[in-house]
């Protein structure tokens, strides 16, 4: 049977369908690549960077922050850096953030990916409120925890005495020496990385991680009874009672009644 020639309308529809098909394949591959490119959680962003998810939406990859940085701290991710291409980041072990008072990298950002208001206190820029990450100490490789005297990170910290303090304790092994152990305080640490840069160990024993990565979360159901402010969260609290077959009766009855109750069920 001879087939009829395709009408122009049918040809057009078929060609459009093919186009849409190709477009869908391309779109899926593209999305898969982007999903992979987005999924790198260990990136340190410039000060005042907004939430990573919004940052990736908002950053236009112009490099103005990189040019504004007087210490060449910031870099734009290149292909092969395993970071979202074109976005600014820094590696504190190489060059940390020196926490300039005027934060030159932030106001130049044209897109709002670096949010000036997040580091502004009472109308003035305050780099101490920046949050690039959080210093984490590996106590196993920190030689201060071995008893060897080292306060390199403590001395390097721009918010000395607040972000890192030194804790004294007796060295029971020798009986006559003290441990001088560095302690990081998460509420003050800006994640500038000066400590990581200064650390004397082969691979730094103190290092910066993005805050979401470095911190745990206890959950809102733990309440510090010794903290007035925290305990005030209990004011409007009410109990939730769950009644099951087992909990219908009092616990004491349960114990007195042997195993019948349990075996019945």
């Amino acid at each position: 049977m001879k087939k009829e020639a395709l009408s122009d309308r049918r040809k057009f529809i078929l060609n459009m369908a093919r186009g849409v098909g190709y477009a869908a394949i391309g779109g899926f591959l593209w999305s898969a690549y982007l999903d992979d490119a987005k999924a790198s959680p260990l990136i340190l962003r410039p000060p005042a960077a907004i939430k990573e998810e919004d940052f990736l939406k908002t950053c236009i990859k112009c490099g103005l922050c990189v040019e504004a940085c007087p210490y060449d701290t910031l870099m734009l991710a290149k292909p092969g850096d395993h970071r979202p291409i074109g976005t600014p980041y820094f590696i504190p072990r190489d060059i940390p953030c020196y926490m300039c008072e005027d934060i030159p990298c932030v106001p130049v950002c044209p897109s709002g990916a670096l949010d000036e208001s997040s580091v502004t206190v009472n109308g003035h820029l305050d780099i101490n409120t920046a949050d690039m990450g959080l210093a984490v100490i590996d106590e196993n490789s920190c030689i201060a925890f071995w008893g060897i005297q080292c306060d390199a990170c403590y001395r390097a910290c721009p918010i000395l005495g607040q972000a890192i303090t030194v804790e004294y304790s007796k060295n029971e092994r020798t009986g006559k020496h003290a441990f001088l152990k560095p302690v990081v305080h998460a509420d003050a640490c800006t994640g500038c990385g000066m400590c990581e840069h200064a650390c004397v160990t082969e691979k730094p024993a103190i290092f910066i991680l993005p805050r979401e990565v470095a911190m745990g979360k206890a959950g809102s159901h733990y309440i510090k009874g010794w903290d007035k402010k925290d305990e005030s969260r209990l004011k409007d609290a009410h109990a939730i009672h769950t009644t099951t077959n087992v909990s219908k009766r009092k616990a004491v009855d349960k114990l007195n009644s042997g195993l019948e109750g349990l075996l019945d069920e």
Partner: protein, 276 residues
């Protein structure tokens, strides 16, 4: 000497602007010059005039970003320039990839690859508009400016200003693709930024005009033109090149020995008469 200038004046001017812009951007990063800071995604002229890539910002909007006013002003500056004046001039006068694809195109002619691949081009030039559309859809779904993450244009330009990384690989791919696979493959078929400027520059004022009475049908213009479909009127009618896909590179003007092509300001009234 004057013949050399006559045959290559626009090419020399184009390379001069392309390389000049790169040097200014590079100088801003390396030596702190204040003339042109940033890169092609977003920049500042003399620290005052903002300029931003309208297509990149369009993707950001599709991704759901709240766009800052600085960026919108920059977009307006760039978009108005190409809408009113340059058309797709970005592609041939600014974009650094143009030097890569032009050299691939030149080598094609030198090695006669054009004649070896005489068959019909395997893909349509409309692919760029499809990619333009998909990029916005993918941006919306993935929440990031989709093309900016894979764009070899930004990669190359950023690479020259800030350091290359494996960006060379992307540029090498485009070079080889244009040289061996598809004539004018990247700029003429694939690049969604070119597609974007084709749409934006449809009504711009600077146009190449064709004078049919001077034309001797040598077709040199069609050999060098990277978007030769826009030169459909050659030897037939005295029409200006009205397609937005013309990049205003002016190679056709230079290679024409008969003065049948020239730049001029678009005249809407006259065009209408000639068009009908």
């Amino acid at each position: 000497m004057s013949k050399l200038w006559n045959n290559y004046r626009y090419l020399i001017l184009r390379r001069f602007t392309q390389i000049g812009i790169l040097i200014l951007f590079f100088g801003a990063n390396a030596w702190g010059w204040k003339i042109l800071e940033g890169n092609l995604s977003s920049s500042e002229l003399f620290g005052i005039v903002p300029m931003s890539d309208p297509y990149a910002v369009l993707q950001m909007v599709a991704a759901g970003a709240v766009v800052a006013s600085d960026l919108l002003i920059g977009v307006a500056v760039v978009a108005l320039f190409y809408f009113l004046i340059g058309g797709r001039a970005f592609c041939s006068w600014v974009c650094p990839i143009n030097m890569v694809t032009d050299s691939a195109n030149y080598l094609r002619r030198v090695f006669d690859i054009d004649r070896a691949q005489i068959t019909k081009q395997p893909i349509t030039r409309n692919v760029r508009y499809w990619i333009l559309g998909i990029s916005l859809i993918v941006s919306a779904f993935m929440g990031i400016a989709a093309f900016e993450f894979v764009s070899p244009i930004s990669m190359m330009h950023r690479g020259l200003v800030f350091g290359m990384g494996f960006g060379w690989a992307a540029i090498g791919m485009i070079f080889l693709f244009d040289l061996f696979v598809l004539k004018n493959g990247w700029c003429g078929h694939i690049c969604p930024l070119g597609g974007f400027y084709s749409l934006l520059g449809k009504f711009s004022f600077i146009r190449v005009h064709h004078l049919e009475e001077n034309c001797t049908l040598c077709m040199k213009c069609k050999v060098v033109c990277p978007e030769k479909q826009v030169l459909h009127m050659i030897g037939k009618e005295s029409l200006p090149v009205l397609s937005g896909e013309c990049t205003n590179c002016a190679r056709c003007i230079e290679v024409c020995d008969d003065d049948a092509l020239r730049f001029s300001i678009r005249d809407f009234i006259q065009n209408k008469k000639m068009g009908e």
